[in-house]
Symmetry: C2
Subunit: 857 residues, 2 copies
C-alpha cells in the first residue's frame, strides 16, 4: 500500500537521550531550549478546568506563558473585511488568567536562570500516576556554591480550583544570603517588570517570528487572534500575611476571575527569615529573605486557587479562593498529593491501555490518556477545547473534536465525563436555535466553533457550512446513551438535542424535482475542508440520516417506556407527531452518491468531476496545502485534508459493506494529505479494518507522537486533544476492533504483528470489562459490575464477574479484501470504459513583487 504523504512522514520522533522511555512518566533528563514551546505544552498540568503551561518557576525562558481556565474568554466584534448577512459577529478568545507559577530564587543576589545556569544535574518529570510535574536539579552558582533544588507543581483533580506548588532547596556545600520571590502576574495586559527589573512580555501568544510555518502571507488561520486594549480590569487587590488575592473583570465578556496564593515556609534548621510583600493591580509578590546556612533545606509551599464566574463579582470570587485555600492549608500538601494519586488511580483503573513489549509506545499512549484526564477530568459545565487547557490555540474554542474524537474514550471509560460534555451542548440549545433562524432554518444549528454558544467561525465555507456538527453531537449522544442506558438524561435533555437537530436536517434537505425520489442536502461542507460548500456530501448525508433516525427512534422509545414522559416531551418541544414520520421518510430516501464505474462513494455529488491533485509531485515544503495555495485552487481538485467518506464508514460501519469500505479507502487514502491532525486517526482505524496493518501502524504513530514530537509544528499552541482521544480510538476501535453498531458491541481484533499483547478496559452499562488481546486469543474479564454481552467476529459472548472468557483468534492480520487499483495506480491508465485518469500539480506560487501603487493620474 502507499506510504503516508510527505507531511505525515514521521521524523525521529523523540530525542531519547533527552526524553528517555518511561512507561509512567514523561521525563526530560537534560536541559535544552529546543522545542521550548512544545515542551511547555506537553509538560503542562491541568484538570480540565484549570491548566498551567510548563513554564519554569523562574518565568523564563518562555515561548508562551499561559494559565488557562476552560471557557474563560474575552469577546470581541468580528470584523469581516467584506461582511455579509449572518456572518459570525462575536469573536471569543480564551485569555490567560494571572500566572501564579513564578517562584524565583536568588543566591548571593544571583538569580537562578536555566538558560545560563551551570546545572550539575537536571530532571523534569510529569508523573501520570501522581499527577505531579516535578523538577530536580543541582545548580552551581557563579561563586561555585551548589544548591539542590526540587520543585513540584500540581493542578488538583480532587479540588478543581486548586493548584499546589512546592519549592525546596538545600545549600549543599556552603551558606549564602538567599531571596525567594513568589509572584502573581497578570501577563495578559499587566505590568511587564519583575521586582528585579527584568521585563516580561505581557502577551501570552507565540510571537510571529517563532511560529515559522506561518505561510508566506505571515498568517496561520489555526492561531488565536490577539486582542487589543486592556482585557483584565482590576477589581480586587488583597494581602493578608503570606496570602494574596487579585480579582478582575474581563473588559467585554464581563466574566470575572479571582486568583489567590498562600505561602508558607519551613526550614530544616532555625533561620531568621524576613518576609515582605506587595500587591499591585497587575501583580503581587511575596518575598522571603534570609541567610541560609550550609546543609539547611528550605521548603516553600505555594497554594493557589482560581475562581471564575460570569456573574459573581470578583470580590466574592476572592472570598471563595480564600475558603479553598483555607481547606487546602488545613489538609496539608501530603494529603493533597494523596488525593491526587487516588483520583488518578481511579482513572487508570478505568482507562489504562497496556501494550506489551513496546515501552516507547506504552509511554506515549499513557501520555495521551493522561492528557485526556487533564482535558476532561474536571471540565464540568464547559466543553472540551481543542487544545484542552494547555494553550490558546484555536482560541480555546469547542469544535466537533470533542464529540467524535474525545467522547468515545469518555463514554467507554468514565461515562460521567461524556455526560458532562453532552449536557453542556444541551445548555447551548437556545443559542443553536437562534443560529438556525439566522440561517433561515428550523430546529437548532450548533456553531462550528464557539465558547459561549454563538458561532465564532469567521470563514463560513469551512465553518458554518459544516452543518454536520449537528449530527456529530447527536452521534456522540446516542453512543453515550447506548453505552449507559441513561434514560433519565435522554428524557430530560438528550431528546431536545436529537429533535432540534433532526428538525434542522429535515428543513435543510429537500426532495428534488425530477428523476430521483431522493432527499438531498445541498450547500454544505463535510469534515474535509479541502472541498467546501458542496451538494450531497456523503459524510454529511450519512450522519444526517443517522440523526433523523435517532431522533425518531428516541421518541418512540420514550413513548413506549413512559407515555406521560412522552407527553411532556411533545409539549416541551411543540412536536407535531407527523414530524418523526417525515424524518424517517427523509432518512430512508437520503441521497448517498455512489459511482458504479469506480465502485466508490464520491465524497460529494461532484467530487469525481474534479481533477486529481498530484500529491506525489507536490514539494514537501508546500504542506500543509492550506498555507501555500489559495482556497480556490485547493477546492478545484481531488485532494483531501482528511478523508470524510472513510470517516463516515468508521462511524457508521453498519451502513456500508466491507467491500465498499475497502474500495473507498483505496481511493481516498492516496488523495489524503493528512494536513488535519484529525486525519490520521480515521485512516488508522480504517486501515486496520480493511487489512492494511502496516499502514495502520504508521498512521497510529503519527497520531501517537503528534504532540510529543511536535509533528504539526504547532504544539506550542497547546496539545491536540482530539489526537490524544484518537490514539485511544485507534487502539480500541482499530487494533481492538471494537464497534458499537446498531446491533450492539462487537469485536474483530487485529493486533499488530509486532505486538505481543494489548489490554484495555471498556465500561458497558456499568460493567467494566478488561479486554486482553494476544496474538492467538482474546480474553474478557469483568473488573467491576456483573455481566456484559457482545460478539466476537460475529459469535455472541457473555462474560460475568469472576468468570473470564477467552476466545481463540485465527488470523488477525487479515488479507486485503479487495484488489481494486488505487487512484495513484490508475493515474494515466485507461479504465475499461476508456476513461483516462490524469493527475495534476498546480504551480506553486512564487513570491513575486507586487505593484504597490497605480500609474500616476
Amino acid at each position: 500500500m502507499n506510504a503516508p504523504p510527505a507531511s505525515q512522514t514521521p521524523r525521529a520522533f523523540l530525542d531519547r537521550t533527552r526524553f528517555p522511555v518511561d512507561e509512567w512518566n514523561l521525563r526530560e533528563i537534560s536541559y535544552s531550549e529546543a522545542g521550548l514551546g512544545a515542551s511547555e505544552s506537553v509538560f503542562a498540568v491541568a484538570n480540565g478546568y484549570l491548566g498551567m503551561r510548563a513554564n519554569p518557576e523562574e518565568g523564563r525562558p518562555a515561548l508562551a506563558h499561559g494559565t488557562f481556565i476552560n471557557g474563560f474568554h474575552e469577546t470581541s466584534r468580528i470584523r469581516h473585511a467584506e461582511d455579509a448577512y449572518g456572518f459570525a459577529t462575536v469573536g471569543q478568545t480564551i485569555v490567560s488568567v494571572p500566572d501564579t507559577s513564578v517562584i524565583r530564587l536568588y543566591v548571593d543576589d544571583e538569580p537562578l536562570l536555566l538558560s545560563v545556569a551551570d546545572l550539575e544535574s537536571y530532571e523534569r518529570r510529569l508523573d501520570f500516576r501522581s499527577g505531579l510535574l516535578e523538577r530536580n536539579l543541582v545548580w552551581r552558582t557563579l561563586s561555585g556554591k551548589q544548591i539542590h533544588i526540587r520543585s513540584t507543581r500540581m493542578v488538583s483533580f480532587a479540588e478543581r480550583h486548586l493548584a499546589v506548588m512546592t519549592y525546596e532547596f538545600t545549600m549543599m556545600d556552603s551558606g549564602a544570603p538567599v531571596a525567594i520571590s513568589s509572584q502573581i502576574l497578570n501577563r495578559q495586559d499587566g505590568a511587564n517588570e519583575y521586582s528585579d527589573g527584568t521585563s516580561f512580555e505581557p502577551l501570552d501568544q507565540p510571537s510571529r517570528s517563532e511560529l515559522d510555518d506561518a505561510g508566506p502571507g505571515g498568517f496561520d488561520p489555526r492561531r488565536a487572534d490577539a486582542l487589543v486594549g486592556r482585557v483584565f480590569v482590576p477589581q480586587v487587590q488583597r494581602r493578608s500575611g503570606g496570602r494574596y488575592a487579585l480579582g478582575y473583570a474581563v473588559a467585554n465578556s464581563q466574566m470575572t476571575v479571582a486568583v489567590a496564593a498562600d505561602h508558607s515556609i519551613e526550614t530544616s534548621q532555625p533561620v531568621d527569615i524576613e518576609e515582605t510583600g506587595v500587591v499591585r493591580p497587575d501583580a503581587a509578590e511575596h518575598m522571603y529573605r534570609a541567610y541560609i546556612p550550609q546543609g539547611c533545606t528550605v521548603r516553600i509551599v505555594k497554594l493557589v486557587a482560581y475562581h471564575t464566574s460570569r456573574s459573581a463579582p470578583a470580590a466574592e470570587l476572592a472570598d471563595r479562593c480564600s475558603r479553598t485555600l483555607d481547606r487546602a492549608r488545613a489538609a496539608g500538601v501530603a494529603a493533597l498529593w494523596t488525593d491526587q494519586c487516588e483520583w488518578l488511580d481511579g482513572f487508570w483503573e478505568r482507562s489504562d491501555v497496556v501494550i506489551h513489549g513496546k515501552p516507547d509506545v506504552q509511554q506515549a499512549v499513557r501520555w495521551c490518556l493522561f492528557q485526556l484526564a487533564q482535558a476532561v477530568g474536571r471540565a464540568e459545565g464547559s466543553g472540551i477545547p481543542a487544545k484542552g487547557v494547555t494553550g490558546s490555540g484555536y482560541g480555546g474554542h469547542y469544535f466537533w473534536d470533542s464529540e467524535i474524537y474525545v467522547l468515545p474514550f469518555c463514554t467507554y471509560t468514565t461515562p460521567r465525563f461524556a455526560r458532562n460534555a453532552l449536557r453542556f451542548r444541551y445548555t447551548m440549545l437556545p443559542a443553536a436555535r437562534s443560529r438556525a433562524r439566522e440561517l433561515s432554518s428550523d430546529g437548532a444549528l450548533y456553531p462550528w466553533r464557539t465558547i459561549n454558544g454563538e458561532e465564532a467561525s469567521a470563514y463560513y465555507a469551512a465553518g458554518t457550512a459544516q452543518y454536520h456538527i449537528n449530527a456529530d453531537i447527536s452521534y456522540a449522544l446516542c453512543q453515550y446513551l447506548a453505552a449507559t442506558k441513561d434514560t433519565s438524561f435522554l428524557e430530560r435533555a438528550g431528546i431536545d438535542v436529537l429533535v432540534e437537530t433532526a428538525r434542522m436536517w429535515a428543513d435543510l434537505g429537500f426532495w428534488r424535482a425530477g428523476g430521483d425520489e431522493q432527499f438531498h442536502i445541498h450547500g454544505v461542507t463535510g469534515p474535509d475542508e479541502y472541498t467546501t460548500v458542496v451538494n450531497d456530501n456523503v459524510f454529511t448525508n450519512v450522519m444526517a440520516r443517522f440523526n433523523l433516525r435517532a431522533a425518531a427512534r428516541a421518541l418512540k422509545q420514550i413513548k413506549q417506556a413512559d407515555p406521560q414522559v412522552y407527553e411532556r416531551v411533545v409539549a416541551r418541544l411543540e412536536l407535531d407527531e407527523s414530524e418523526p414520520e417525515e424524518w424517517l421518510r427523509a432518512a430512508e430516501a437520503m441521497a448517498i452518491p455512489y459511482d458504479s464505474r469506480l465502485h466508490i462513494h464520491p465524497q460529494d455529488d461532484q467530487f469525481l468531476e474534479k481533477e486529481v491533485w498530484n500529491l506525489a509531485e507536490t514539494p514537501p515544503d508546500k504542506f500543509p496545502l492550506l498555507l501555500h495555495y489559495h482556497p480556490l485552487v485547493i477546492y478545484r481538485f481531488q485532494v483531501l485534508k482528511q478523508a470524510d467518506v472513510v470517516l463516515a464508514e468508521y462511524l457508521r460501519g453498519d451502513d456500508f459493506t466491507p467491500e465498499e469500505k475497502a474500495a473507498d479507502f483505496d481511493y481516498y487514502d492516496p488523495l489524503t494529505t493528512g494536513d488535519s491532525s484529525l486525519s490520521g486517526v480515521t485512516q488508522a482505524v480504517m486501515a486496520a479494518e480493511v487489512g492494511y496493518q502496516e499502514l495502520a501502524q504508521s498512521y497510529f504513530r503519527g497520531s501517537l507522537f503528534l504532540d510529543l514530537a511536535d509533528l504539526h509544528d504547532n504544539t506550542a499552541e497547546g496539545i491536540h486533544i482530539a489526537a490524544a482521544g484518537g490514539v485511544w480510538s485507534t487502539l480500541v476501535f482499530g487494533f481492538g476492533g471494537m464497534r458499537d453498531g446498531d446491533a450492539g458491541i462487537s469485536f474483530d481484533p487485529r493486533l499488530p504483528e509486532l505486538w505481543s499483547g494489548l489490554s484495555f478496559k471498556v465500561t458497558l452499562r456499568g460493567t467494566r470489562v478488561r479486554v486482553e488481546l494476544g496474538q492467538r486469543e482474546v480474553t474478557f474479564t469483568v473488573e467491576q459490575g456483573e455481566a456484559a454481552e457482545f460478539t466476537v467476529r460475529g459469535e455472541p459472548v457473555a462474560v460475568r464477574a469472576g468468570r473470564p472468557v477467552t476466545v481463540a483468534l485465527k488470523q488477525q492480520d487479515q488479507p486485503r479484501l479487495l484488489g481494486a487499483p488505487t487512484v495513484r495506480d490508475l493515474a494515466g491508465a485507461r479504465l475499461a470504459d476508456g476513461t483516462v485518469l490524469t493527475t495534476y500539480t498546480p504551480q506553486p506560487s512564487d513570491a513575486i513583487g507586487r505593484v504597490t501603487d497605480e500609474p500616476t493620474p
Copy 2:
C-alpha cells in the same frame, strides 16, 4: 410575460413638481432636502478625472461631502477575520480631496443657509450642453432684505485639472454690510470648524443611520470602508493675495495632491472691499468684507486647480496648480465656459440619442449620456470607477462594469475613450501576472476590483472567483479593435492582454478524465453572485472560449499582416507556437452545459439540481436578498442576482440560436431578483431581442431612472455608471437591435410601439453614421467620414457620405418566438416526464436575542 420582481417595481420615478421635464437639463425648481444624498450625486459635476458632489456653496446641508479624483486613494491592510493563503491584502479606498466648493455669504452678519432661509425663488440646473451647474435664488433675509444670488460651478473638460466657480449676488432692495467667505477644507481628516464656529463633519461617508437599507446586521457590503487615523499629511500651505494652495501626501499610499484656489471680485458700483485670508494645514479661507449698496451686483470668481501624483512632491504639484490657475485667469471665465460648451458640442455630436415624443425619457437619457461624459471624458490614465467620480461607493474601485457596460458606448461614439481605458488595463498586466501566480495559474489574472492593480476584493467567492473579468476585458478590447481597426494598439499592447488572459484560461481549465472530451472550467463564479464557486458556469465558459479564440486569431492576424511585428510579439511574450493550437482545441471542446429536458442552458453544471426560490412569496422588504439571507442560504437555491446565461447570449449572440435565447430568457427571467444594478440592462436588451417589448420597456425604465429616482436607495454613494452605459446599450443594442457579431455589424431594430422615433449615432472605423429609426423604416446617414457597411435584418447595406439609405421595416414588435412555459408557470406542475417543479421560500430570519455569554464555569 412576468412583471419585474418586487425589488424592481418602479416607484413614482421623479417628482415632476420639483424636477420638471427638460430635454437638456436636470432642473430642480423648489428647494427640498428630501433625497439629499442622491441629489448630491445626480447634480455632481465631473470630467472623469475630477468630480465634485453637488453640495451647496454654503457647505450645508450635506449627507456626504466629496471631491474625488479618479484613482486617488489610500491603501490599508485588509484584515480578514479568518485569513487564508492568497486572500487580498491591500485595501484601496478613494479618498475625498480637499473641498473647494464652499463660498458662504453673510448679510448683516446673517449667514445664508438653505435649510432655514426664506427663499422667494430657487432653481438649480445641471446643463448638459454648457456643462455648468447653476443655482439661481432670491433670499429674503430676516430683516426683510432681498438678495438675488446666482452661482455656477463647472469642472472643465478642456483642462482636466481645473474647476471654475462664480458667485454673484445683487442687493435688490437695500444695502447691507456683507461678508463672503471662500474656503478650502480638508474634510477627510481636517479641522472641523468653519471660521464662524459652526462645525462640519470630517467624514465624507454617508452615515449608517442615513443609509437605511443596510441589513439588520447593520452592514452593507456595497459601501466603502472607513479609514482610521489621519489620511492627508499636510505638506504645503501657501498664500499669495487671493491665491491659496494646500498640499498633502496620503499617509499609506504616499500619493500626493495639491489644490489651489484663486479669487477675484468685481462689483457693478465702486465699493470699498476689505480682503483678508488665512491658511492652515487643513483649511484655507479668503474673506471679503464690504458694505454693498442697494442695486449693486457683486461677482466673485473662484478658479480651482487640483494636481495629483504618485511620485512628485506636493510642493511641485502646488506649482503646477499655480500654472493652471495663471492660464485660466488669463483666459477668463467666459472663454473657459466657451471651451466647455465646445467640448460638449463635440460629445453630443458623436453621442446624442434622440427619442421622439418622449421628453421625460429624453431628459433621463441625456442625463445618463452626460454622466458617461463626466465619468470617462478625461479619465485618461485611470480606469472608470463604478460610481464615476461622483461618490465613494465601492471604494472608487474599477470593476468589469467598465468593459461590459461602459466601453461599448465609448467604442461606438468616442473610440479614444475606450482606448484609454483599455490601455489602462494593459498597464495593469504586471500586477495581473503576479496575481495569477498567487492563484497558481499561468498568464495573467485581473483583479475583480482594484484601483492600483492589486486585488482588493476581500470576499473571494464573489470576487477573485469571478475569473470572467479576464474575458470581459478581452471582449471589450476585441470590440474596440473590430470597431476601429486600431492595429497599432493591438500590436503594441492589446496582444499582450489577449495572450496572457488566454494563457490563464488554458491553465485554469482541464480535460476531464472519462466520458466527455470536453474542456472544463471548475471552481469559478459567474456574474450572478447569488451562486458562487461552481463548475462550468455557462457565462464564464462562453466568454473564456471567446477569449481563447480571440487570442489565437489576433496572433494569426498579426503574423499575416507583418511577420516582423509577429516575431517581436513572440519574443516579448515568450510564446510557444503550440500555444494557440492548444487554445483553439480547448475553445472547440469547451463544456457548455445544456439540459435537453428543459431545453435550456443551466447556469452551471449543477444549477438545475437546486431548489427553486419562491420569489413570488418573498416579502418585498427582504430585497435585496443579500442583506437578509446568509450566503449559504442564497447559494442553495435557483435564484439570481442577475441572469448571466442571458448576458452570455447578449454578448455572444452568435453562439446561440434564437430559440435558445428565448428559452433561456423564459427560464431565468422569473428567477432574477435584479438585486444587481447591472441586471436590468441585460434583461432589457434580451427581452427586446426575444420579443417581450413591454418587459424590455419596463427594465429599460428601471435602468434609466436607477439614479434619478434612487431606485436602489444608494445613489447617495454615487451614480451607477454601468447603468448609465447600460441605458445607451439598451437603446442601441436593445431597441436599435445593433450587434457586432463575428460577421460584422448588424441591425434588427425593435422600436417600442409608443415611441415615434429613435435616433442615435455610431462610429464605425472612423465613419460616424446617424441611425434614425421610425416605426416603418430606418434611415442611415453618414455624418462624418466616408462609408460604412452592415446588415439590416440579414440584408447587406452600404451607406456613403451624402447618400443616406432608408430601409423599410415590416414588423418591429416581434411576436414571441417560443411559447415555452416559464419556470413560474411550471411551479408545482408536472412535466411530460413526470417531473414536478417545486418552489420554496426560505424562512426569513428574525431578530432573535443572542446568547451573549456562556454558562458559568
